[in-house]
Amino acid sequence: MPEGARLSIVGDLHGQFVDLMHIFRRHGFPSPERCYLFNGDFVDRGDCGVEISLTLFALQQLYPQSVFLNRGNHEERSVHSVYGFMQECTAKYDKDMYDAFSRVFAQLPIATVVNEKVLVLHGGVDEIMTMEKLMAAPRAQYV
């Protein structure tokens, strides 16, 4: 990131597309100079998890060096199958698309480290977790 850049860390959008647009209006759209880290829980509870997920994915594909995504507990199938996303996604598309979203969610990184100093992850870690264990965890599996 160039000098003068900005980093915004955003958590728990929970299907609130309007909130995401509000954040972009206040702080700017992602760009090489405007970095965003979305710290999980993109879906469930709100009605626009599909729109939020597709927006974040498109933005990360556009700016892979400026847009980072962490996985939240609501990007876990046992959670989003209960708290609204499955219902939303199958209503808007179908079950196969829900499965496709689930596969992508399962590949989301667990954590992000900023400047080798700040560990950002959705739910915290317990006292026995080490960085080595985090790096080696089978992230697509629910543990």
């Binding site: 003068g4 955003v10 597309f17 647009m21 209006r25 927006t55 994915f57 985090l134 080696a136």
Partner: protein, 162 residues
């Protein structure tokens, strides 16, 4: 430029007082003749449109803004497949219908976001392609991603505390 986004979205002070989610039968469809726009134009247009949305009394309840609401209450039963087809928000979608080959462009992304703001939903095939590309991108990333920001970078944190 703003008009292009606003077409078919029917922003007016009337809508917040209207409780009916059903559009008049003769309501104009969201057909817009799209002209190529630069990413910068779309960017500015989208920001202006969001600003306009935000100034609306109904902002925050986006589902009240449009007749073909994406909303479905958790307390309500899932619509039957025939209902969801009848009110399928893909009908509202005015953004790109396919992803261009190669890297996604800024104008394509802005078009997609603009379409979401207008309550549209991309065609299934395009959304599936976007997901496939995302899966390929994510598979290459480690569990823990490292990146650096300059010491002078400003940092904002926006989240809940739950």
């Amino acid at each position: 430029m703003l008009n292009k986004l606003a077409k078919g979205f029917s922003i007016s002070s009337k809508k917040s007082s209207s409780q009916s989610p059903t559009p008049p039968a003769d309501a104009p469809r969201a057909a817009v003749t799209t002209t190529p726009a630069s990413a910068a134009d779309l960017h500015a247009e989208l920001l202006a449109f969001i600003e306009m949305l935000e100034s609306e009394p109904g902002f925050g309840d986006i589902h009240s803004l449009i007749p073909t609401s994406l909303a479905h209450s958790f307390n309500e039963p899932i619509r039957s497949s025939s209902d969801s087809v009848a009110s399928r928000p893909e009908d509202n979608y005015l953004g790109p219908k396919v992803l261009p080959p190669g890297d996604i462009s800024e104008s394509t992304v802005m078009d997609i976001i603009a379409a979401f703001v207008r309550r549209g939903l991309p065609p299934r095939a395009m959304a599936a392609e976007l997901l496939e590309r995302q899966e390929r991108l994510l598979e290459k990333l480690p569990n823990v991603v490292h990146f650096k920001v300059p010491p002078t970078a400003r940092t904002l944190i926006a989240s809940n505390c739950l």
